[in-house]
């Protein structure tokens, strides 16, 4: 039996068409199946039509937003883990915005794929809310939909102190931090003792040579940033293979069987020459290059601990044979990531943390730009051209406000473009975002992230843009619970 129910208010009416599927006496009048829900709002040319999912999302959003108006605290308008189909946002002055996703509401031919945004005045909104309450009050229509009024849990509510009171401690704290940063910046950089020089007197020429190349070729060196832009004290030997042309120019071995064989050789070499009492409390991360003969020709540091504790690893010893060799960049190399940790060592193919997929750049002369290290794309990465993330912090940082605005914009873009919040292990990406609000490059930070890249909206968002356009790098984390976190790659403090 078809049933029609109407809830009419001066500015809004809800018309429900449905069926009763229960034939027990007394229940024939209960609408238990909704065929179509129509919501007419005065001043709106067409009415909103939709099915059950539209209607249940609508009544929930309206009911929750009414509570928000009464208490002043934002209420979640969707049950956790569900897509947000209907949402009401506060607007300016007496207005509110009812936003309906296009997939659930039928607007006729005017639907252009964008969310429908209806501006409602407070009185219109109240009429809508009242129509919904009258529906809730009517036990004969879709009795399973209930208002579920409950107070907002504490965790959703921010403190009631006025903003000025809340901001004061933060301002004092940030001010103190800034003062401390300035004070520390004024101190001279301590000179680190140079054990390499004392230990290995046979290599002085190489050291000085390398250090000078190093400072000249500053940007391509893989070096942890220092807060105030000064050069960190680099261990003499450590610098030896850092900036040689090896990394930039040497051809890469691409044969996969050879790569696998070399990986095994490297692993056994390192394990074999590891000091028996070696104990790594922190993870030491290296990028290691091996030539076709399986000899270790160079290595770079992946983190600060790797630089500090390099003498505890067998890498300097293994690389010594090639430390003075010239013309290394002419032979093909294979790159591996070697991590020393408390459990032992882990050797894995280098995931090209610096070379990433990028849209074909308008300026397609990657090698002409000395600031960028270009590396061949690994076999499993998208085969289009690559752009490089250098590891030097930006020399002329854009101002904080802009970085902040772009930060929010990037987050917004990602959230709007993802299909479903991604649940699973956290994945991190480095994303370059330009001032026009386009993602111009991204790079997975680890192997987990590179396998999960297609579950993120990043490939879709990638846009071609001139390479030299100002852009800011961000760290984008998709957390275990599906939350997107965005922060500047070099930290907020760089932009203050």
């Amino acid at each position: 039996m078809t049933i029609r129910r109407q809830y009419q208010l001066p500015n809004c009416s809800l018309i429900l068409d449905g069926l009763s599927i229960d034939s027990t006496p007394g229940d024939e009048e209960v609408m238990s199946l909704l065929v179509n829900a129509e919501c007419r709002i005065s001043g709106l040319e067409r009415s909103l039509n939709g099915n059950y999912s539209f209607f249940s999302a609508l009544v929930r959003a309206v009911s929750q937003y009414s509570q928000e108006l009464l208490s002043g605290f934002a209420h979640p308008q969707v049950i956790e883990d569900e897509t947000l189909l209907v949402h009401i946002n506060p607007g300016d002055g007496p207005y509110h915005h009812l936003v309906v996703q296009p997939e659930i509401a039928d607007l006729g031919e005017s639907g252009d794929g964008r969310a429908i945004d209806i501006k409602l005045s407070s009185v219109q909104l109240f009429d809508l809310s009242e129509a919904v309450d009258q529906f809730f009050d009517d036990t004969q229509t879709l009795p399973e939909l209930e208002p579920l009024l409950s107070p907002l849990p504490r965790r959703f509510v921010r403190t009631e102190e006025p903003l000025s009171d809340r901001a004061l401690p933060a301002v004092l704290g940030i001010g103190g931090l800034v003062a401390a940063t300035v004070a520390i910046g004024l101190l001279p950089v301590p000179k680190a003792p140079n054990p390499a020089k004392a230990d290995r007197p046979d290599q002085p020429a190489q050291i000085s040579d390398a250090t000078s190349t190093n400072s000249a070729n500053d940007k391509s060196s893989n070096r942890p940033p220092t807060g105030d832009g000064t050069e960190p004290a680099v261990d003499g030997l450590a610098a030896a293979n850092l900036s040689s042309p090896l990394w930039d120019k040497a051809p890469r071995i691409t044969d996969e069987t050879k790569l696998a064989a070399l990986q095994q050789t490297l692993e056994s070499k390192i394990t074999g020459s590891l000091a028996p009492n070696a104990n790594f409390t922190e993870v030491l991360d290296y990028q290691v290059a091996v030539n076709e003969a399986g000899e270790l020709v160079g290595y770079r540091f992946g983190n600060d601990a790797a630089l500090r504790d390099v003498d505890n690893t067998p890498l300097p010893k293994l690389a010594r044979a090639n430390a003075n060799a010239q013309g290394l960049e002419k032979a093909a190399i294979a790159q591996y990531q070697v991590a020393f940790n408390a459990d032992g060592i882990a050797v894995s193919p280098w995931q090209d943390g610096t070379a990433v997929a990028a849209a074909p750049a308008v300026d397609s002369s990657p090698t002409a730009d000395p600031a960028k290290t270009t590396q061949p794309a690994p076999a499993n990465s998208p085969a289009n051209s690559t752009v490089a993330f250098d590891d030097a912090p930006p020399t002329t940082p854009p101002d904080l406000l802009e970085v902040e605005a772009l930060n929010n914009q990037l987050k917004q873009t990602i959230v709007e473009n993802r299909n479903q919040p991604r649940v699973g292990s956290a994945t991190t990406y480095r994303v370059r975002f330009n001032q026009a609000g386009e993602v111009v490059a991204y790079s997975p930070v680890d192997s987990d992230a590179s396998t999960a890249v297609n579950e993120t909206p990043l490939p879709k968002l990638l846009t071609a843009a001139p390479k030299n356009e100002p852009a800011v790098d961000y760290r984008v984390v998709f957390t275990e619970r599906g939350v997107v976190e965005v922060s500047p790659w070099w930290g907020w403090s760089r932009y203050e």
Partner: protein, 203 residues
């Protein structure tokens, strides 16, 4: 207004108050914010209706809430539990007293529905045209009355009151309260208002 038949009121009294269910996990008395919120809404009603204070007592009788709101002095004491008041009593407000005041607020708001809607429509038109409130006689009347009630009764030294130091801020508050009163006029208004008073109070 005199009540015609007090005896019949007795049985209905517990029922009316019981319609408002106490949410799970709330304290046994109304929070600071609830006390402030209720008093502000009643203040807005007074600004809408000159005889508002009398109407509250009459409403209490009509709704059969005399046991909870016992006359003028008790009503004044209850409203003075608002911590922002100049002569705040710092008295606790029990849940049933809170419920009674919520019912009175919604009862009076329903009576004033037409006026509330007119004023909100007027505010909407003024803000569409970018005009000041003076162009709407009833609205500016309500706002100025609200401002003077507010300034006369609230303790200007409290941080919660200092934020409303300017006319503009007080006008904003008055409009916000008017919108809240509109939502109190609905079918489920009393329940909605009552539940909203505990937002952020449960874990």
């Amino acid at each position: 207004m005199q009540v015609q038949s007090p005896p019949t009121v007795q049985p209905s009294e517990p029922q009316l108050i019981d319609q408002l269910a106490t949410p799970n996990g709330v304290a046994s008395e109304c929070s600071r914010r609830a006390k402030t919120q209720i008093d502000f809404l009643l203040l807005a009603i007074e600004a809408l209706d000159l005889g508002g204070a009398e109407a509250m007592l009459a409403a209490a009788k009509e709704l059969g809430l005399e046991n909870v709101v016992q006359g003028r002095v008790n009503l004044w004491l209850l409203r003075s539990s608002n911590p922002l008041r100049r002569f705040s009593q710092r008295e606790p407000m029990s849940l049933s007293e809170g419920k009674a005041l919520v019912l009175i607020t919604c009862f009076l708001a329903k009576r004033l529905t037409v006026l509330i809607r007119q004023l909100l429509l007027g505010y909407q038109q003024l803000s569409d045209q970018g005009l000041s409130f003076e162009h709407h006689f009833r609205l500016s009347d309500y706002l100025s009355r609200f401002r003077s009630h507010f300034r006369a009764r609230m303790n200007a030294k409290r941080a919660g009151v200092i934020v409303y130091a300017t006319d503009e801020k007080l006008n904003e508050l008055a409009i916000e309260l008017l919108t809240k009163l509109l939502f109190c006029t609905g079918t489920d208004g009393a329940n909605r208002l009552w539940v909203s008073l505990f937002d952020g109070e449960v874990s």
